[in-house]
Symmetry: C2
Subunit: 389 residues, 2 copies
């Protein structure tokens, strides 16, 4: 089977980016990715863009077309992928498949979202349409914090997870976000800060929730032949992708203490890569809410079901622990421009595997295996990607 | 390289479908596709859905999730593709790539659009955002008929194409639509009917324009191994896909007499398939407006640039002519549920290559080679797919 490597990466500053338009925000990640790989737009055969909000929180209906023109890729194969908050990973999956299939040797993947052009209450309403819109949203007025609060209360009831445990995730991710110049939030916080922040949907408080963010991220994927042809020094190989899904209707889920799609997608990714969970040395997991990171520990097989809170209590997911997680600040502190997030995980893990991040937040590596876990909706979609140097 | 076949197809009735909701409309094409292939939802590893209007002309934000649950595919890999009116083909491209890459052996592709839930003037506004929204739409109020009218006037000025020539395309496609029980319009029309219909954007009149349609289409793709395992009688092989794109900004196009993305995508598809344009025996081309079909003849290399009108005048694109085109009625008469259209072209051409359509509209075949040409926006995207029996 053809091998595929990440040969160039770029990431915009995440945050409220009213200083740039959609095309400019895109180029802010694409330009460094081009420079990193040593290629330009016309070298690239295929552009796959992950984004959700077209015609919703931003007005352009065809963001992929605007990105292609602005970045000099006109004429390339072109499409947009959507898998809610896992759209970036869906775009990576599509470009990866196209290279393995022999359709192209060099592809650009962009994750893009501009969510702060409209008032955040409207954005919250649109995000709340994830899942079974006509049932849950229309009948019960569910929003995303409310969905994850269901999971948090269930996890607390069954496993004794506490509000302090949830807060510990936010504290850890803010700690690393403070070391990441691209992060939306660069301030450390305390457990008390989290516990005393306004309740959004109990037990989730403001600091348990990831923010609404503008941002873009870009990676360039190449076939093994192209890696050689371009003389790339440190290609980062995609060694396997697993994906899965779950019911639209939350009332049909088996339980509310984990995401079945995370379990299945990760098993598929481990199998495709020929690795066990214990071999992963650094990971980015989908911490849209603090409870989501604790469930991810368990669903990905990094600990047993119900032991997630213990992992964060013991500092096992910080540098120096068993498996450092979200060393870029995660969705919680780096920010969560939803279509960009999955691509931004590839950006971060590529930089980690190349040992190019700020020294204070570099994971210690021996076997150079990384994992990205990207969830769409409330586990409606999940993509897990394993990278190796 | 792994071979990929279409082993099951289904298509809903196209039209104004206020009798069904989004999930029901989807299942109306998926059920016959399952029956045709002899599989059920849980056999399938990957669902790729092509759709544009989520949160726009229909309210659900995650149509792929709703489709997966309703059709019994929960747990499968899942994503949505968007390439404007070529979204269905983008979904086919993605599922095809995933099978060739070895990720999956059996995939379901659904094209879906429900455009008649809101008033058509709002839908027209949303469609008009294709292209460079902030420039063309906001500054000039361009709508889609206006975009294609630019092309029509240019083609008329340069090549002498007439309003009657445009009308001939509508007459031909309504003739075949009248033979297709799935078509939105099942009434034959005359050249006079077209010429006397209300002007929408000169020279395009009402009958030069495809309608706004609800509909779904589904195809099941399988690897060669799976085709053997399932004992499929008449697999229809995807022998090559070419894709390309063009500028967002129409003012940067080279000319207005053809679509460069159609030229490039078709050349890529011919190369991937190892065929010449003259070998194609039946085709579905993107006749969103009558001028688009005439340009497609030329861009696909079925005649020389500027000779498109002659092809329709001479009846060469009807049954009995050199290359019968749009024997299902095309977008013009079958209808154009934009995310479904590319998949519906695969449905129609699979049925043609199997010789299973109504006898009066069956193309005569010797080598059993078919071509689908699906454009997004005003050539912003293009996918060309070659099928062989």
């Amino acid at each position: 089977m053809k091998k595929v490597a990440i040969i160039g990466v770029g990431n915009s500053k995440f945050g409220i980016r009213q200083d740039v338009n959609l095309a400019e925000l895109t180029f802010e990640s694409v330009k460094p990715a081009f420079e990193d790989a040593g290629v330009i737009g016309k070298d690239i055969d295929l552009l796959v863009l992950g984004s959700v909000g077209s015609g919703g929180w931003y007005e352009e209906m065809l963001p992929a077309v605007i990105a292609a023109e602005y970045c000099g890729l006109t004429g390339a194969g072109l499409l947009r992928c959507e898998a809610a908050c896992a759209s970036g990973s869906a775009a990576v999956f599509t470009a990866y498949s196209a290279i393995v299939s022999g359709n192209t040797d060099l592809a650009l993947v962009i994750g893009l979202e501009k969510m702060r052009e409209i008032d955040t209450s409207t954005t919250m309403e649109l995000i709340g349409r994830a899942g079974y819109y006509l049932w849950e949203f229309h009948n019960f007025g569910m929003t995303f914090p409310a969905y994850y609060a269901l999971y948090a209360t269930s996890h607390m009831a069954l496993y004794g997870t506490t509000e302090e445990d949830l807060a510990r995730v936010a504290v850890k991710n803010h700690k690393y976000g403070a070391m990441n110049p691209l992060a939306q939030f660069q301030r450390e916080i305390t457990i008390d800060d989290v516990l005393s922040s306004p309740v959004v949907s109990w037990p989730l408080k403001l600091y348990d929730c990831s923010p609404i963010t503008d941002g873009s991220s870009a990676i360039i994927l190449a076939s093994e032949e192209k890696v050689k042809e371009l003389g790339i020094d440190t290609p980062i190989w995609i060694s396997g992708i697993g994906s899965s899904s779950d019911t639209a209707n939350l009332s049909k889920r088996l339980n509310y203490v984990g995401l079945r799609s995370s379990v299945i997608a990760s098993q598929r990714a481990y199998k495709a890569s020929g690795i066990e969970p214990g071999q992963v040395e650094v990971a980015s997991v989908h911490d849209c809410f603090t409870i989501a990171e604790i469930m991810a520990y368990e669903d990905l097989g990094l600990c047993r079901k119900g032991d997630g809170a213990k992992l964060i209590q013991d500092g096992q997911t910080e540098i120096g622990g068993k498996i450092p997680i979200n060393l870029d600040g995660g969705l919680k502190a780096k920010g969560h421009p939803i279509g960009a997030t999955g691509v931004s995980m590839m950006y971060e893990l590529t930089k980690q595997l190349r040992e190019e991040v700020e020294k204070t937040r570099q994971a210690p590596l021996n076997n150079y295996i990384a994992l990205a876990h990207n969830v769409g909706g409330t586990g409606h979609y999940c993509f897990v990607t394993v990278l190796r140097r």
